[in-house]
Amino acid sequence: MDFDRIKEKLNILADAAKYDVSCSSSGSKRTNTKKGLGDSSGMGICHSYTQDGRCVSLLKILLTNHCIFDCAYCVTRKSNDIKRAAFKVQEVVDLTISFYRRNYIEGLFLSSGIFKSPDHTMERLIRVAKKLREEENFNGYIHLKSIPGASDELMREAGLYADRLSVNIEIPTKSGLKLLAPEKKHEDFMKPMEKVKNEIIQYKSESKLIKSTPKYAPAGQSTQMIVGATGESDRDIMYSSAFFYKNYNMKRVYYSGYVPISNDPRLPALGTQVPMMRENRLYQTDWLMRFYGYDVRELLNNDFQHLEMDIDPKLSYALRNRHLFPVDINKVDKQLLLRVPGIGLKSVNKILQARKFRKLNWEHLQKIGISMNRAKYFITCDAREKELKDVSSENLKQLIMQNSFSKYRKEFTQQLSLF
């Protein structure tokens, strides 16, 4: 192995792949049965975290950063004057195996710039995965990027080797896409998604009858949207997500705050701050949709198009729907308990278990670990003293914010500091 050359390629092609947010390595069923290498039967593992706080779970690289497209938001775009490199198929295989054996990674996330044609590129990606599975007997996690415009046959083959497939929609609105990636068509993104969705459905029905049906993308598919590159609202973004979850059985939608990488008049200028807070609020909203039983229209709608940045979306919802509260912790059903600000999924389950034994009071709730400074205004429990309930939502919001120590608080404080 020529280490110096590999090192240089790795620098270039890892650097270019880092804007892809997906890092998950969970949700696949691929047990190590024949004494091979690797196992992805359980939950994923984050083996490290970058200095920006993101999980490192997979070797995330591009096969090449040569690209025939010129999408304004992308570092790898044709017109960008950067160093180019390309891995050989075998080099990616060797790197993956060597890293995996040392317990650095859960597997491989392979994406690519589009060279020659979408099919030509997709075919190369598949060759890497096929080699890993068939020659190396590798059962670790493989995430392949579906190349927009790749043929149905290749999408079918890709899913036979990969645990997850994804195609990044990147721009949440059609008009935005037209502006920033005029060469790409909205349909090019949807077609591979549709194919993968149908293959997964077919696999699921066939494997019920025939056990030996080859696995097809067992960890499903995901997509990513760039946030803050065009003028889309939070409502636009989350309605797109809801659409993907509903119509394409998407496992995950990722939100990626736009990191300015070029001086293009169509985009926020270099040096513009990455909208991290907004990104965070979008993820919270996504969670509320997927795990807390909210309908997207309850969280965002025509009257409420943007999430509040200073408080989380669950608290925001509760303050806009005061008529639902306070709820009695010892009686309320699970669905409403999930809507109390400051009480998470795990606490909900603990409360449901514990209240079978006795009536819970403030002290129990505190010990269970719920966030009292928010929750106390929305609940009653087995206690004499009542919290104040007849304050306006606006005052209540101020009160909660004054008593919370959010790391973002300083960004929202209205008082000027003296020094």
Binding site: Y19, G36, L37, I45, Y49, V56, R102, R358
Partner: protein
Amino acid sequence: MKSVVLKYDGSFPGFLTCVFNAYEQKLEIAEIIPEGEDQKQLFSETLEVITEDFKVQRVLKSLKKKLSSNGFTRLYYSFLSEIPGIELKMYDMIRYVYSSQEKAELDYSHPSVLDISKAAKQVGREKHRMEAFIRFRLTKDDLYFAVIEPDFNVLPVITKHFKSRYADQRWLIYDLKRKLGIHYDLQKAEYVSMELPEDIGISGGNPDYFAEGEIYFQHLWKEYFDSTNIKSRVNMRLHIQHVPKRYWKYLSEKSPFA
């Protein structure tokens, strides 16, 4: 009734024997402590407990009847925490579970149930962290070798994970703090105890011990780690929260090896 201090061999079966004896002899327990530790109760009588297999099996059987498998795992994990005094809390929880009809292991309003679940959670977290942060280095004799120093005794609960994952390579994970390792020889995983050379190090690689190319892979990994960082988004507070500093020395991507 006079309360007693039970002294046992520090093993989980040893603890289970304590439970058996306590019930059989209707003891009031002031402390349960492993050998080598000093008791706090000055005026209590001390009883030495000798681990006996039939007692262990009896207690195991009845515990598994009273606890769900998750509940039993929580109890076992809390034992591995090695938190001083955890044995008494475990015993307290066991008594509560035995005395209740319902699934009392889920009564988080009971103090020892809550304490046990918290200790188990801590151990579970470190188990998961070790599965993440162990870094194997390939030795000259084709062994993937790693050293760890976990706060809790997680070696017994990470073996299965590594065995199913690295079924086709020989590996050894050595806990420096407890001077005990697990060696997998392609067939089975077994406990080993050994003297390690002083200069075996944590990352890097002495060419006397490690395979040619080993150091390059560590460099490649560090290189990869640095290339994936997005500078305009650096958040060191979050970084340290995810990768506590005490683990840094084991991580080739964090350690300033030569």
